[in-house]
Symmetry: D2
């Protein structure tokens, strides 16, 4: 028996497909998740969401609870941030994904979110995994920045074992000796997951590279390797973002990326 029985391709040969709003993960479509690292101003967020929808995005991302390395860094807006996300959803029609970092906030996050995100630092927060496994929300499970592929699938297994089968994996780069990039985006993880598991996998080239100029090429690469979706940090004014601006695209660059992806997905027999 494989250690990750429920997550394994053997246990379920066909792809798991997960519908959110009018998009579907795991069925050939390239699902585009976009938005700022952290939710800041509500008007700005709603305007951005409308713009992203216009450019072809399917899901709005934004952090209300931010896990920060330092206790003195910007922690996010909390429930106010969730309310801003909900307002941006109303304005744009885009479903929203946001991170839950504290098990005690789960009910609150569920009131506002369409997809729950488990961040890299919480990939092995097993009580949190068990709790989201009891909900019926889709869960995007980011790979721990030093997790092996097996450990990542075992983390997914915690959620699946709780009865929640709507798990989306997200490769976001691993920690290595290379310091030119913020992380080393593990492109092989994308086809490896498709080989080992039936779960959809998306790519986050923003955290995976940590450098704005590398986001588009690595995004294209992830699609060519078989990713079911992309998660891209977009900010109306990256240089003034409260978090991670150096890896955020502005809306114009995001539009340019969408233009590149259209022929690429077509050449791969996929669609957007």
């Amino acid at each position: 028996m494989l250690p990750y029985e429920l997550a394994s391709r053997e246990s379920r040969p066909e792809n798991t497909t997960i519908n959110v709003g009018d998009c579907c993960f795991g069925a050939g479509q390239l699902v585009m998740i976009a938005g700022p690292c952290a939710v800041e101003d509500p008007d700005m967020l709603a305007d951005l969401a409308v713009m992203l929808r216009g450019a072809g995005a399917h899901v709005l991302r934004g952090g209300a609870y931010k896990p920060r390395t330092s206790p003195y860094s910007y922690p996010g807006l909390g429930e106010d941030g969730l309310k801003h996300l909900a307002r941006a959803r109303d304005a744009s029609g885009l479903p929203v994904i946001t991170e839950v970092t504290d098990i005690r906030d789960l009910d609150t996050v569920c009131k506002y979110a369409d997809i729950l995100q488990i961040g890299s630092r919480n990939m092995q927060n097993f009580p949190l995994l068990r709790e989201v496994g009891k909900t019926d929300y889709p869960v995007l499970l980011k790979r721990g920045f030093s997790a092996t592929i097996e450990e990542w699938l075992l983390a997914a297994e915690y959620i699946l074992a709780g009865g929640n089968h709507r798990v989306i994996l997200c490769e976001r780069g691993i920690r290595t000796f290379e310091n030119y990039t913020r992380n080393t985006f593990d492109i092989s993880a994308v086809p490896a997951i498709k080989h080992l598991s039936h779960l959809p996998v998306v790519a986050d080239p923003s955290h995976g590279t940590g450098r704005r100029e590398l986001v588009a090429p690595v995004a294209r690469a992830a699609v060519a390797a078989g990713a079911d979706g992309l998660m891209i940090e977009v900010h109306p004014n990256p240089d003034q973002a409260l978090s991670d601006g150096y890896q955020s695209l502005n809306p114009v660059d995001f539009g340019r990326l969408m233009d590149e992806l259209t022929p690429l997905t077509a050449a791969l027999g996929r669609h957007m």
Copy 2:
């Protein structure tokens, strides 16, 4: 300003000392923490604790809540395990340290433990750090297996910033390409912490090596490098342990290690 203001040696030039039972971390004594990876049978634990006390150990370790990579692995005994620990404390007189993995278990763990342990996987579980920072229990904070020294000190800063100044750091090996050992014990972290911070630092060569035959030499090395204490997995019958037996010493080998450490600490101007 340093990113870890409160943890920095600059902010407090003299060593922080932390008294637990009749031992003291950070004041020249080599504090010996020993016990099984996971609490199993209560009688066995009490007998082992008495034996460890006789061999010179100062603190009893044992896991009641085990963070396990797989949802199907042995999860620990929960509160029953805590009760067994308390009974072993009564039998031996040794204070006990045990891990808290779920913020919801904190009050329960505090009813039984003398020192709270934050495990490697939870080093960046920021809500949990904030909560233990509100208690007045000593906290042993293990280094994340892929955390930099700076990230580790920033995690300590979360606890200190909450008002709890009784933080003990624990080096337990980092994840690298080398796979002969379970982890790569970062010996330099010991003097680096003493240089950068006023907090005491102990070493866990059991997890740091993952190989029984390397535990004693790496334990001696950590002491020679300046560690304030050691945390050693000891099991009455390692080959039948429910968790991590391959890296556990038996009581005889633990006694032999204690015999080696006595002249070593004396040569270093320390005591046990």
Copy 3:
């Protein structure tokens, strides 16, 4: 001044282009290098070369001198292997690339090779770099398996500083904690090199993944990220290869990869 002055994009804004046979690195074409890890039987090699040419490959690879981790592993055929490569070139019309591992073999290798390969283990063999820098042969410089991008460009700088400007960089995966793959293919290195340097960069997904089933998706990814070429291990019967068979494609799979790459390169505005 940048540490790698001659290799830097600042010193030469336009791409360096390198012609070999009827293909060109760095000018939009996707150059396909293919062949066995090690040269074995001469007839088999010539037949394979003809087949590869038919499938659209541009350059034949094959090792005559193999750097092997163990002194007891197959070391390659030496000069006989070079002769077999030359014969396969005559039979197929494909120029050949082969590795030089010993400075004393350089003149011999130059008698037969069209492109000199410096392997990963020799990326910082500085005397060898200086010597190939004195030749006028194109040099394919593989990234050391633990070299940073800066160290890699500085290794190229050794060759450029000797007066040889025909350097092709080759990303082949780096060593990390992940052991599902043989190496972690650093996809970000491809656009990073295009950003930092004017030198062409090719990708070796065979060594970069070490798993046959991952070669094609990572090859596609590298092209989408901007690689100027691909280096693919192909063996007529991978399961009987004397070296690295588990990561070699057979000719049928190579043909299938070529079929995938044609629409992909077109969608990217490139050609094969």
Copy 4:
């Protein structure tokens, strides 16, 4: 059969001992190798050697051929540097160790050196390993900065297989994600080598830490872990050293380290 047959403890249960001058590696003595990173001024070197001898050092180190990451860095004095080493040997009575980086310089280096050093970057320079394996000089083989313990022992096997059994291994730190230290000194490698092999192993805490203030504690740790010797960079005026000054001790600090090591080795049943 083990992959490293000749290097294995199984093939030779007793320790290999290697005599150089009046010291012996592998027989309980702690052999102290000390000197500057690179040979600079001849008078300074001779004076330093006399001072080191006075402080209790057994072997003088110094680089005449320096493998440098950049082609523009100080390359060493070449044969002139070797001559300065020979003069310092005459002045002090200390045998000398120096690195050979180019197979073509081997005969020249053998004219002056008492121990040949193979540096980290050349640990898998197999032609060079084979050549030093044909000499009867003791060879100090540094671990590659990303080599596993198995690869390191296989590199030693190349030398042993050539008939030269006088191989001394040297742990000098491995490359990891941690960047506070220059490398991560792998303390477990010391007892692992003693367990797996009969060859002596020494430790280089200067390169292993890259920080002057960590050299002494890590040196003590290596001794406590069982190292047969230490290799310490000492420079009369570290802040003006042409190479690696930030990790060099001055003679006063070296003397202080020697004073610390005397009681430590005695407590461990060893001698200096």
